[in-house]
């Protein structure tokens, strides 16, 4: 087991009466790409803000390499949290230009790689003189990606980098991420709603649901615990005995269930007169976090 680089313990956060994070623990190990997935309003951005001391918390602690992150410049220099850009700031338009963001980033991040930033700037065809409010949603995402990658921060966090990007650009983003990761081995946390195409990029996946961490484990290990089992009602029921059933669909006597269990139990199911098929990460996510909304 690697030593944890980032450690959150007992984190609670409320906005007014609404508690968004409930006594949350999270451990991040170095040299991995983490995927953070959760439904709208699950608390992803709040959590990422707290991990990087950009947001306050009501209770709990966050440490990086054993030191508290709060107002600790030495530790915060090791991190980059590239937030989503907004077209409006406070009450007006975001009239800051792309070059202002890049200049600020160059001052702010001690490991800033200007040559890499310039290369990405021309690859993304971003106009430095353009105002943020004149950019498309995808172009704003490109600016956040550029800053995150060129920051060369040992812990780099991207919030919804794929939002608004077209499919070609999303693939290019994953390529860039993997290339950089192969070279530097730095730690990434990437939040996304486009789960399936990112699944193979994430070594480890964190599922946040209603302010709690449901899962934090290797992606493939997690996915391999789930199956769909379908067939005649009574046979399916018999097979599912001892397995955790997450959702059920029934059409007359034909029944399909989403189950979770250990390898041996799932292998046994294969021997019965039912169809057993694997799930992908997106299916797993819906099974765990759907809460019946899909039916």
């Amino acid at each position: 087991m690697n030593a944890a680089i980032l450690n959150a313990q007992g984190v609670c956060k409320s906005y007014g009466k609404n508690e968004v994070l409930h006594d949350l623990d999270l451990t991040i190990e170095p040299g991995k790409i983490y995927g953070l997935i959760g439904r709208n309003g699950a608390g992803k951005t709040t959590l990422l803000g707290i991990l990087t001391a950009q947001n306050t918390m009501d209770r709990g602690s966050v440490t990086y390499g054993g030191q508290s992150v709060w107002e600790n410049q030495a530790v915060l220099d090791q991190m980059c949290f590239s937030r989503e850009l907004q077209a409006t700031l406070f009450s007006g338009q975001n009239n800051l230009k792309v070059k202002h963001y890049l200049k600020t980033a160059a001052i702010y991040y001690p490991n800033w790689d200007q040559a890499y930033a310039d290369k990405l700037l021309s690859e993304f065809k971003l106009e430095p003189k353009k105002k943020i409010c004149q950019l498309s949603k995808g172009q704003m995402s490109m600016v956040t990606i550029l800053i995150a990658l060129a920051s060369r921060a040992p812990l780099t966090i991207l919030d919804e980098p794929a939002a608004g990007l077209d499919v070609v650009m999303r693939e290019r983003f994953y390529q860039l991420l993997l290339e950089d990761f192969s070279e530097t081995g730095r730690t990434f946390i990437v939040s996304t709603h486009i789960i399936e195409e990112a699944a193979s990029v994430f070594e480890q996946v964190i599922i946040l649901d209603q302010g709690r961490i449901l899962e934090n484990r290797p992606t493939e290990e997690l996915v391999d615990q789930f199956r769909y089992i379908s067939g005649r009602e009574d046979v399916v029921d018999a097979v599912c005995n001892g397995l955790e059933v997450l959702s059920t669909h029934q059409m007359s006597r034909h029944k399909t269930v989403a189950v979770r269990g250990d390898r041996i139990k799932l292998a046994e199911a294969q021997n019965a007169d039912v169809d057993v098929s694997p799930m992908n990460l997106q299916n797993v996510f819906v099974a765990l976090c759907g809460h019946g909304d899909t039916q």
Partner: protein
């Protein structure tokens, strides 16, 4: 190495299987180098740790071996090992489902064997 990944089985298993296929087809011959973890990661847009897991699986089965500081190579006799492994998996993956499907169609054992016999003969004529 060609082929694409699907979401029907775990990615590291698919990586291992694709390398095995290419060894059987002679894409990679004995004592030849196979793509590195990073090349696989780049080629398929997957996490290097996943690619490494697939390669390590084949190392554990003596299909690949590591030359320190150079890379991963196809072991002598790797083709035979893959074939042997595939034969064992053939029973579970093909023969058993065949019998199961036959039973659900109420085919008798003789009828099933007769069909297999016929398929073999048809294959010979081609």
């Amino acid at each position: 190495m060609r082929g694409t990944l699907n979401d029907q089985s775990l990615i590291y298993l698919q990586i291992a299987r694709m390398l095995e296929d290419d060894i059987l087809r002679g894409v990679y011959r004995e004592e030849e180098q196979v793509p590195s973890t990073n090349e696989l990661a780049r080629g398929y847009n997957i996490n290097p740790a996943t690619a490494a897991k697939g390669i390590n699986l084949l190392v554990a089965e003596d299909i690949l071996y590591k030359k320190r500081g150079i890379g991963m190579f196809v072991s002598p006799g790797a083709g035979e090992i893959v074939q042997k492994k595939r034969k064992a998996a053939f029973y579970d993956g093909f023969v058993k489902p065949l019998v199961k499907e036959g039973a659900s169609l109420a085919l008798t054992g003789e009828e099933l064997l007769a069909m297999v016999d016929q398929a073999i003969k048809e294959g010979e004529h081609k």
